[in-house]
Amino acid sequence: MNKFLNRLCIFILPVLIAGAFMDTWISANLRKSNSHASKEYPTWNAILDGKLDADVLIYGSSRAWVHIDPSIVEDSLGLSTFNLGIDGHTFDMQYLRHLLALKNNPKPKLIIHSLDIGTLQRSNLYNPDQFLPYMLWDEAFYDKLSKYEGYSYFDYKIPLIRYYGKYDAIKTAIKMRLSRTDDAGRVRGYQARDQSWNADFENAKMAMEGYKAISDSLTERLFDSYLSECKADGICVILVYSPYYIEGQEFIENQSEVIDMYKRFARKYDLLFLDFTKDEICFDKKYFYNASHMNRSGAELFTRKLCSQILLHRGTTACKWQ
């Protein structure tokens, strides 16, 4: 038995040592990728490495990510801007980005928070590969992600385990090590979409007909405390409901109720709430590639309109951001 156990230890020891080194190597190279995991790494890197360098932060889901162009905001407001929109995630994960951004970067003056029908809902752990290089032994990631199904306890605590079966991630890490080049990523977190109207709408029509958004009470409370924290920290928050293609809006039974809820939050904290759901952009298909996402021309037009509205309403709320 002793011989068996000794040999087993001798066999396993190099695996454990190599595992720890390989974890570091894969993570270091993977996070260089601009394209893997829906292009989320550059944004996470900027947050965690303290390189946001922004007076204005844009929060939200993919609708923030593809709708609000930081360069236009910078030109219009004269403030450096970074878009932290996170694809496929609702406020719960947006809040993780907010916390980490505050922890590793100077406090922003202004947050433009893009809201939508699902902001206060509970999502699943969409695009889990985006967390891979950062989640080992990180309490902030563990506290947040462990509430979702997707990774086990050991993925957060033991090196390399989380890369088990992640062939694409490992391949990307090797590719990044060898070529060091990658597709162009997001520009200060923003991703313009040069796409025209596609068949997604027809699919969404089938999936969303009679859809009713039901918000999650825990996420609602978290959103409330986030607004309260921002107020206490002197960070101005502007709530924005960006354009949604008009026919798509008709599928959602309780959109007006959801918007009313956001209005109540705005009133409670004396915030500016800008609702673009009846804007003329919503009536023109050429600005969208599906019911909920605008293409480049739509996003640029919208960002200009948004900035002019922000400038127009400056000073109408208690919040002073400039």
Binding site: M1, F4, F11, V15, S152, F154, Y163, G165, Y167
Partner: protein, 481 residues
């Protein structure tokens, strides 16, 4: 608990440590530990069905004791039938009730009579067909006086619930496994190392080959109406490797795990895809089930004695029952029947025992004739797998009719086809390893004769391939049986 889960990776060393360090000098304690570990292992999936295993254990233990005391032939037969009816009754209720009900309703409605009956919403307990057959073998062997009934309830419970093979076999004979629970197990270094090696290879088969092939087999079978005949052929080949990797991988892990605890289980697969005819294939595929049916059904029916029609009848029965054992669906019956049709001509021409040795023994490559025979056998087997995998007979029929259409001659194409290339390369590597190691009990057993400078890097390579290419975890196919 799945073999390819982190739960099992924690469970196994704990049980191993307790077994060899705490209970090493006490046979009864070792057996008790196996029972407890086995019940935890099974209960991890659904603890409610532990009562079924316990009940089955109590029934066959009591029947065994009854047979031990009873000399009256009628009463002995009554005891045996009690065991058979209770065990098959479980199967009937949990596995076949809804099937028979639906078919009776359909049959009566065909003749113009509508029957109102309610089908049951039943969860099929994992591995019920395996442990039921194992306990049945005990009662039958005790009845036939091939085995003395045991008075040791703990040893018998351990035999019924032995966790490595509880949910998907090999289906052990009481004559082979039960006596191992009576004798003290002494740790054997060579056996344990061999067990670990076999576990490693089993994990590779399951996690790398089966789970990756499953991805494409599922894609193609689930959307078969959208694909060309050539793509459907590829889908069937993916499934052929999925089911082989899945089931033989499970058997390898089960056998290897048992060896860690000092037990020898029977071999369940013997490189079946290198068979030169269907008869050879069935001597090499799911051996524990084939031999079970041979010993407890085929031979009692008369086996290969009698006139031609009796022989054909017996073959048809054994294959169809074997198909039905897999599941309550006409597709499994068709799969069994088709294999019978493949087999009968060999038996009638007395060619069913032609290829008894290992193909191309001592040679690097097979002859052209051998290669052609293997390809033909593999094609026939893969064709039959279509019925096994199809959702229903209609699905199987449309799948096959698309294969035999003009689109068979177009290039295969499916979504993410390029992503399947690593899977294909790994499958070729797997076939090559199986070919090289076809003389052993499992493909990489021969590495025990190689120096560590050669064998250890290979183990690391296999471990690395498992780590990198692990497919999305799929439940073992045979759990549903």
């Amino acid at each position: 608990m799945l073999f390819n889960s982190i739960d099992f990776a924690i469970f196994l060393p704990i049980v191993f440590g307790l077994y060899w360090f705490v209970a090493a000098n006490n046979l009864r304690l070792q057996n008790l530990l196996i029972v407890v570990a086995s019940y935890i292992f099974y209960g991890w999936w659904d603890w409610r069905f532990l009562s079924l295993i316990l009940f089955s254990t109590l029934v066959d233990y009591s029947v065994g004791l009854g047979l031990l005391k009873q000399v009256n032939p009628t009463k002995r037969k009554l005891l045996l039938w009690t065991s058979i009816l209770i065990n098959l009754g479980f199967l009937g209720v949990f596995k076949y009730y809804n099937f028979f009900l639906d078919n009776f309703i359909t049959a009566f409605s065909f003749f113009g009579t509508d029957i109102q009956a309610t089908s049951l919403n039943i969860i099929l307990p994992v591995g019920i067909s395996f442990y039921t057959f194992q306990t049945l073998s005990y009662s039958i062997d005790v009845y036939n006086r091939r085995l003395a009934a045991t008075k040791d309830f703990i040893a018998f419970s351990a035999f019924v619930s032995f966790f490595p093979q509880l949910v998907a076999g090999p289906i052990e004979r009481a004559t082979q496994l039960l006596p191992q629970f009576y004798t003290r197990r002494i740790f054997d270094y060579g056996k344990a190392v061999d067990g670990l090696r076999q576990i490693l290879w089993g994990l590779f088969k399951k996690i790398v080959i089966a789970d990756n092939c499953a991805r494409y087999a599922n894609l193609i079978f689930d959307h078969s109406e959208s694909y060309s005949g050539s793509t459907l052929v590829l889908g069937a080949v993916f499934f052929a490797f999925q089911i082989y990797g899945d089931f033989s991988g499970y058997s390898d892990i089960a056998i290897g795990t048992s060896r860690l605890f000092g037990f020898d289980l029977m071999r369940n697969f013997n490189f079946p895809y290198f068979s030169r005819d269907i008869a050879e294939f069935w001597r090499r595929w799911h051996i524990s089930l084939s031999t079970w049916f041979r010993d407890y059904l085929y031979i009692p029916l008369g086996g290969n004695r009698g006139d031609i029609w009796s022989k054909v009848r017996n073959i048809m029965i054994i294959f169809i029952v074997s198909g039905f054992w897999h599941g309550a669906n006409w597709t499994f019956i068709a799969w069994g029947g088709l294999n019978a049709l493949f087999f009968v001509p060999l038996m009638l021409t007395k060619n069913n025992r032609t290829n008894m040795d290992t193909v191309a023994q001592g040679k690097l490559l097979p002859s052209l004739k051998e290669a052609s025979m293997m390809m033909l056998t593999f094609s026939m087997t893969t064709f039959a797998w279509i019925f096994f995998r199809a959702e229903n007979m209609g699905h199987a029929a449309s799948y096959i009719s698309t294969i035999f259409s003009r689109s068979l001659f177009s290039a295969p194409h499916f979504a993410d086809a390029m992503l399947a290339i690593p899977t294909m390369i790994l499958t070729i590597f797997f076939i090559a390893m199986e070919w090289i190691g076809r003389d052993g009990q499992y493909a990489i057993q021969h590495l025990n004769r190689r120096p560590k400078t050669l064998s250890w890097p290979f183990y690391y390579l296999i471990g690395g391939l498992i780590f990198v290419f692990a497919g999305s975890s799929q439940q073992f196919i045979y759990f549903q049986f």
